[in-house]
């Protein structure tokens, strides 16, 4: 498991605001709680990797027809 901690700020509300999202008040509690849960595990995705360790499956290009 990656051992480099990258703690989330726990600030889902601020992140939503920065993304231009206005959450209807009656739905905010559940949405923000769920976002805090996913933000809280983001540290685990960050491990010691080289800069070249890119995901290999994002983009490929095939040769065009002659």
């Amino acid at each position: 498991m990656p051992d480099t901690k990258f703690p989330s700020d726990g600030g889902a509300r601020a992140r939503f605001l920065a993304a231009g999202i206005t959450i209807p008040a009656e739905r905010a509690k559940g949405a923000i709680e769920e976002a805090d849960r996913i933000l809280a595990v983001q540290f685990s995705l960050r491990g010691p990797r080289s800069a070249a360790a890119e995901p290999s499956n994002i983009f490929t290009l095939k040769p065009g027809a002659e």
């Binding site: 992140r15 559940g30 769920e34 976002a35 849960r37 983001q42």
Partner: protein, 466 residues
Amino acid sequence: MANTALHETTIAEAGRALRTGAVTSVDLAKASLERIAAVDNSLDAFILVTPERALADAQQADADFAAGIDKGPMQGIPYGLKDIFDTAGIRTSCHSRLLIENVPEQDCVVAGRLAAGGGVLIGKLGTYEFAIGGPSFDLFHPPARNPWNREHTTGGSSSGSACAVAASMLPMAMGSDSGGSIRGPAAYCGIVGLKPTYGRVPKRGVFPLSYTLDHCGPLTRTVADAALSLQVIAGHDPLDPHSVDVPVPDFSAQIGQDLCGLRIAYARDFLSGEPSANPEIIAKLDTAAERLALLGAVVEEVTLKPYDLFVACQRTIMYAEAFAIHEENLKSRPMDYGRYGYQRLLQGGALSAADYIQALRLRSELTTYLSEAVLGVCHAMLAPTGLTPAPKLDSFGEDVAPWSGMMAGPFNATGHPALAFPIGFSENGLPLGAQLVGRAFNEPTLFRIAAAFEASAALNSRRPIP
């Protein structure tokens, strides 16, 4: 077959009977429609039943048989589609008010292949809204109920698909799986559900939840039927960038073989860190592992990287991609979504670009790890599908709860094929399931193992409702 009610007939049984003339496709279609009329008003599996289309398809299948035309294992067989699969001229709503008037002009690739293969479309099946969210009562159609106990959920998101197959309204229904949405409902409803290898079955024309996690696969009552269904829908689609151009094998070829010579990893430790794991699940999994060993396989416990790591990766990717799809509507029409769907789909808005990229980088590492360290040594891996039997519908609160119960997401991130199958029942009579995870593009070995278990455990005789 002679003693089996028509609506209980499997694809394999019906295929034989159709080809000997013992039954017609119209008989099968009518039996399916009558079964739906009898039980679905209390189960709510179907969003839309298409009887005219069904009878037309069935008449065509019978005419083809009479003319000596055989289009393969789905010819004359009733099936249903989760209502995120586009169907030309037939509403595809994604179980959402946002698409309640959406009538596609074209079939998705899977629907097209089933039609070309002579299948009989019976209707469109309920789902969690846009294949995420939860069992919601604030949508235009209620959630499907578990046929084993209608106070309990079917799981999701392929909820109507699992319900319809378990209740013998259909022998096969298509589902989609981005984090367990085929395998979870299959486990909760006591049936078989296959998430094929990523790229095996085209997704074009299926409303996306998550571009790189979505898989399309069948839900059936038997392992053999899952193999027959996959035979019709598998294969490269050059217009689908995720589709992989690999040969399509005979998926049934290994069914009936014993398990001698196979090594099966047992990921028991996926449960060990989960205090909510039901002891009945653990006991049944242990029994399943022992049975596989008795059938000739070498079964060995393995310790995997932490489950939480896999699922953090999968969930970050899923939320980021889903938000990209729904961003405009989430911002402009928030109240047109159901409460659960909105609260789930919004999550990617709180993630950063770096979060997503880090998840993709980790995904590559986890995929290589599973392929080499586990499936490079063993032919398959036995793992839990979920932590508990199906929960009660009234246990879901006002807001979305933490994801819990299902343990299927890791293999969406890695793309390996995963087959959910029944392993027994809880004390309260609800089904329990497990999954077999295989090497990429090696579904036949999963069918071999699960079919051997199915024949030995003989769980199919127990049905949920008469």
